[in-house]
Structures are given as C-alpha cells and as structure tokens.
C-alpha cells in the first residue's frame, strides 16, 4: 500500500444525534450534489435501485393517536471491522489508516458481494450507466469521480473534503481545527444532528459526543466497530422502563 505522507494521525468519525434529526432530507440531497450521485429517476424508485449514500429511515412506533414517527439517518458506518472488506475479491473496498472504508471505483468489478456483506445496507450498485443531460453536467463536482455502471458506491466520508482540509492545514503549517472539515451532509444538516470530526483528538466535538450517555452504535452484536455512532432519541413517553431489565436480571454483563 502506498504510504500517505502527512495523513494517518487522524481517525474520522461521525456522531449522529437522533434526537435532533427531523427527517428533512437536506443531508440526502447535499450528499447527492456533492458526490455526483446519478439522478434517481422514477424507474429507480420503482425497482428499488435508487442511490442515496445517506438515507433517512422513518420508523413507526405505537398506534394512533400515540403513534410516533422516528427518523434515523444512515450512511456507511465506516466499520473498523468492516464485513464488506474481506469479501471483495479485488480489494476494491478496503480500510485506510484513518478509519475510513474506502471504495476504489476503478478496481470494482461489480460482484455486489460487499453489499451482501454490509449489515447496514449502505452500499449501492449502479445498475445502469448514470446519465446527465449535457447541461446538467455543468454542476458536477470535479473532485469526485463519476462512477460507471456495474460498480458499487457508497458514502466516502467526503474523503475529498477531508484531503483538501488536511492539505490546506499542512500547507499553512498549522494543526487542523476541529470542525474545519465538514462533510456535505453535515454542512447542510440544519439541526446539527450530524457531526463529523477526528476521534483521535480528545477535545473534538465527536470525542465529546462519544462520552454522552445516549451513545450507541448500530448492531453492536456484529462487532463491526463502526466509526459512525448515534445518540439515542429522547422520549418522555417511553414505556419500556428500566425496571423491565431489572426484573429480568439482565444478561449479567
């Protein structure tokens, strides 16, 4: 592997405060714009093939009139032990030194095996060649490769923004500031439910958020050690009380 001079002291993480997410979809489109994600045409919705590196799932809970709709944004969890990585025959998806799961489009042959391996269903396959009408190509982001058909894509933690930020700080001979690098989804997110930063920096916002009592990760039982973590939704009406666990005696962990 090529060593990446100047990189590697960071470990990127995303903290998602579920309590703040309103489901507004700003992150979804911001990511789409930033990362040249192909247009999700009606056909793609009907065939369930739309691509959305970050998606906002909406779950129902309870019954009318006490029904709740809960939103949760889900993107690649950048697992430390990523189940998508070992299955890829061509190392098109691998882990870099900064806690990111990276996708090398050029190598990918499109087996979709990684997508089966990923428990979070955040990998998307290009069933068709993406097409933009010529004039719309004006807004494509030159920092991000346009993927051809037949390959996988997924959230990159806006790696191009990270690289730009790290390089900029390095060229100005100063340490990178917390919050200096923003992913596109975080930048848009009006409620600040999304927070990106360096977990190696103990003073960073994500490091602080990790200490929150509401910290949890998705499907911890799989041992994937995601670099995306969540802060639980708060609800005064929550009915499953702590007593339930006590009476059962818990699992003895």
């Amino acid at each position: 592997m090529v060593t990446q001079a100047g990189f590697g002291n960071h470990k990127w993480a995303m903290a998602v405060d579920v309590d703040k997410c309103t489901g507004c979809q700003a992150c979804v489109l911001a990511c789409q714009v930033e990362n040249n994600i192909p247009l999700n045409t009606q056909d793609r919705f009907e065939r369930n093939r739309s691509i959305s590196w970050i998606r906002v799932e909406r779950y129902w809970e309870g019954e009318f009139p006490d029904i709740k709709a809960r939103f949760i944004p889900i993107m690649c969890q950048h697992c430390e032990n990523a189940p998508c990585e070992p299955v890829c025959p061509v190392f098109a998806t691998y882990h870099n030194a900064e806690g990111m799961n990276v996708q090398v489009y050029n190598r990918c042959v499109g087996t979709r095996y990684c997508a089966n391996g990923c428990p979070y269903i955040v990998r998307f396959f290009n069933y068709w060649e993406p097409v933009w009408p010529e004039s719309l190509r004006n807004h494509l982001n030159p920092d991000v490769t346009i993927r051809s058909r037949g390959i996988m894509e997924k959230c990159s933690f806006c790696v191009h923004r990270v690289r730009r930020g790290v390089r900029k700080a390095a060229s100005e001979s100063r340490p990178l500031e917390d919050g200096e690098i923003q992913t596109a989804c975080q930048e848009a997110c009006p409620t600040s439910a999304l927070n990106f930063g360096d977990i190696n920096d103990p003073n960073s916002r994500v490091s602080q958020m990790k200490k929150d009592d509401r910290y949890y990760t998705l499907m911890p039982q799989l041992g994937t050690s995601p670099n995306v973590f969540y802060l639980a939704k708060v609800d005064e009406d929550r009915e499953i009380a702590l007593t339930g666990a006590e009476s059962e005696g818990g699992d003895g962990h």
């Binding site: 299955v87 042959v109 037949g150």
Partner: protein, 459 residues
Amino acid sequence: MQQRRVLDQVETNRILLNGQLNTPKWWLPTVLGLGVVVLIGFVIIGFMVNRGLGVTGLSRPVYWGLFITTFVFWVGISHAGIMISAILRLTQAEWRRPVTRAAELLTVFSLLTALIFPLIHAGRPWRIAYWILPYDFARGIFPNIRSPLIMDPVAIGTYLTGSTLFLYVALLPDLGNLRDRTRGWQKTLYTVLALGWRGNPRQWKLQTVGGILLSALMLPIFVSVHSIVSWDFAITPAVEGWHSTIFAPYFVIGAVHSGVSAVVTMMALMRWLWKWDDFIRPEHFDALARLLIVVATAWLGFTFLELVFAIYSLDAPEIALRELQIFSWPWNLMFGVFLMTGYIIPVGMWLFKSVRNNIALMFWTSLFVNIGMWLERFMIIVPGLSRRTPFVYTWDSYRPSLVEWSILVWSVAWVTFLMLLFSRFFPLVPLFEQKESQIFVDKIKIGRVNVPAILREQE
C-alpha cells in the same frame, strides 16, 4: 433379478459406438434445435452485458438472485461425476461402470456452465481479469484471497481441471478403439487424441493407476468445492439465513442429492435415446435410488437443523426471515413445492422397489429432485437478502426478469447441447470398462439360486 444378456465384445462395440459410427436420426434435429436456443441465449447474455445489469430484476438489497442460484445449482449438479465415478471406483462398486463417463461429462459441462454465471452476474464482466489474475503490481495488490469469490474460481478451476483429466484418462482406451474403426478426418482426430494408445499392459497399468490416483485426489476437492461455494454465503454476517455454520456439509450433501439425481435423469435418457437397455439396467436405477434415499434423508436432516438453529437464536430478523420463507406468499408455495419435489415425492416413491425399477418413474422423480434443489438454493439466497438485518425500512422483494429466466433456460439447453455434441464423437458409455466388467462377471451358486458375482483381479 432380471435376466441379463451376455454380450460379446463385437456386439458391445456395435451397440456402444452407435452414436459415433452411425448417427441416430433424432440427433441432428435435436442438436440443431438446442443450438438455436443456445444461440438465442448467448445473444441475450450479450444484450445484458451490453445494457448492464439493469435488465435483471435485481434491486437493493436483493443484489444476488437467479444467477447465483443457478450457479450454485450447476456446481451442485457437477458433484454427480465424482460421486459416481471416484467414490464408486474407489469402493469398487461394479455397477458404476456404464454410467461413469456420462457422469463425469456432466461434471465437466455443468462446471463450465456454472463458471459463466458469476462472470455474467458481475457488473463489469470484462474486468474480471483484474479479479482472478494478479495485475496491479505497481500498487502491490493481489486478489484478495480471503474472499470466497477468489476461492471459488480456484476451487472450481481445480475441480474442472481434475475432472477433465479424469475424464480424459478414462477415455483413452475408447479413443484407441475409435481410431481403429474410423477413416478420414475422424481417424486423424482420434489418432491425435488417443496419444498413441495401444492397449499394452504398461499402458493399461498406467491408465488404471492414473484413474485411481485421480479419484483419490478428486475426493477432497469434491468436498471442498461446494463447501467453498457455501462460504460465499456462510461468511456473510449481514444476511439472515446465510451465516450458518452447517452450510458446508449441508451444501455438499445437497449437491450430491441433486448431482446423483441428475445422473439418474441422464441414464434414463441414454437408455431411451441410444437403446442401451443391456448396459443401463434397472438394477442401476435401483442402486442409485437406494443411495439417494440415504443422501436425501441426510440432506433433509440438515435442512431442518438449519431451521432449528435459526429459530434457537430467537433473533427478530431471523424470525422475520423464516416467516417470509415458510409462511408468506409466494414463498410458502415455493417452500411447499420444494419440499414435495425435493424430498417427499421422490423419496416416498423410491421406497418402493417397483418404482426404483421403473425407468420412467425414476426419470420423473429425479427430475423433480432438481426442480426442488433449484428452488432450495433460490430460497436460501433470495429471502435472506430481502429480509436483510433489522432495517425493516429497506426490506424488498425480488422477481427475476425475463432476461434472467431466459439465461436459466439457456444454461439447461447449453449443457444438454454440449452433452449431445460430445456423444456424437465420443462414446458415452466406456467400452473398456464394460468389457472389463464382463470379464469379471460370473455366477455363484448360493443354495438354490444363481447369484451374479464379481471376481476381482488378483494382483
């Protein structure tokens, strides 16, 4: 035991070479018909490669569907050859002799067909070179040998090479035979292929030892191939119903079930098409049916163990998956058909000797098994993907597209086409084995009955 005609060597040659020395009337139309289907199939594959996998019914998260099912199916069928010839050869089961070659041939052709599926199901098939061949020296990245998708081609490649060699070694004496009975370009062909086979004792000995060594070598490969195919699924923690520790033996035994059934189907066809009633006999069907009863029952045990293990966990996604797989439309129908055709109907019938000795019934029941076994693979692969993990919001269903169905049909036509093409130029029943067996055959009187018995060569 039915009376069996003892044939002399000339007659054996005449009957068994009836495909090569004089073409049967049905052959040309059948092969041409199949050829058209095969051609259309290739055009459809070309169309798919041209347009992209958008023409399939695949979606998110059902990323694998009919193609992978059919891949597993054909790898399963390929287990026939080795099961029949290697194991039976090593255990010196005499009844194997007339069916070994056809079984091995089925192995080779079904493997060739199976290999095509992972290739065409890739998003960019033309880039597979990067996958199997290490190419990126600059970056020092070789294929990822941890990936079952690398182990797959390695295992299948080895199996294919071994089986082809095995087939070829066993073909040598018959090639010599054909060389001596043909003229013109055919003679040239057989001369080259026969590698100077003369039938002297040294050659016979080498050929026999080679065959036995290859059989012994093939056995571990045979076990490993479908184990590795099962790992395509079993190492995936994210798909309910896939990450099961019993998948390897479960897949292997399932493969034997479908492979041997395919051999039975084929034997019935050979008997009808070439009128080889003297060679492929009811007792062969009887023996295979008995074997199948054991294999199928073991396989069914695994099937239920797998379900039971899944339910043990009481994981919500597991339960949701089983709900879908067993109780929800249209999977409940498929599940029913799968159980009926994969086990209940065939095994139930095979319990009766009259069925085991009835070629037509054996033909249909063995065909049923493979319908059931295809469905089994489909039911392992697809429901798991449509009920991925607890993210209910992303759950989806899958319906194969016309393109996918056509390619499934193509694959069946393609294997049959290759078999028939082969049968035109090479004997499907090994002549030398047949003759060898007749030499060993004798009758022993036990009490008041004459029992056919086999005398072994003394070394």
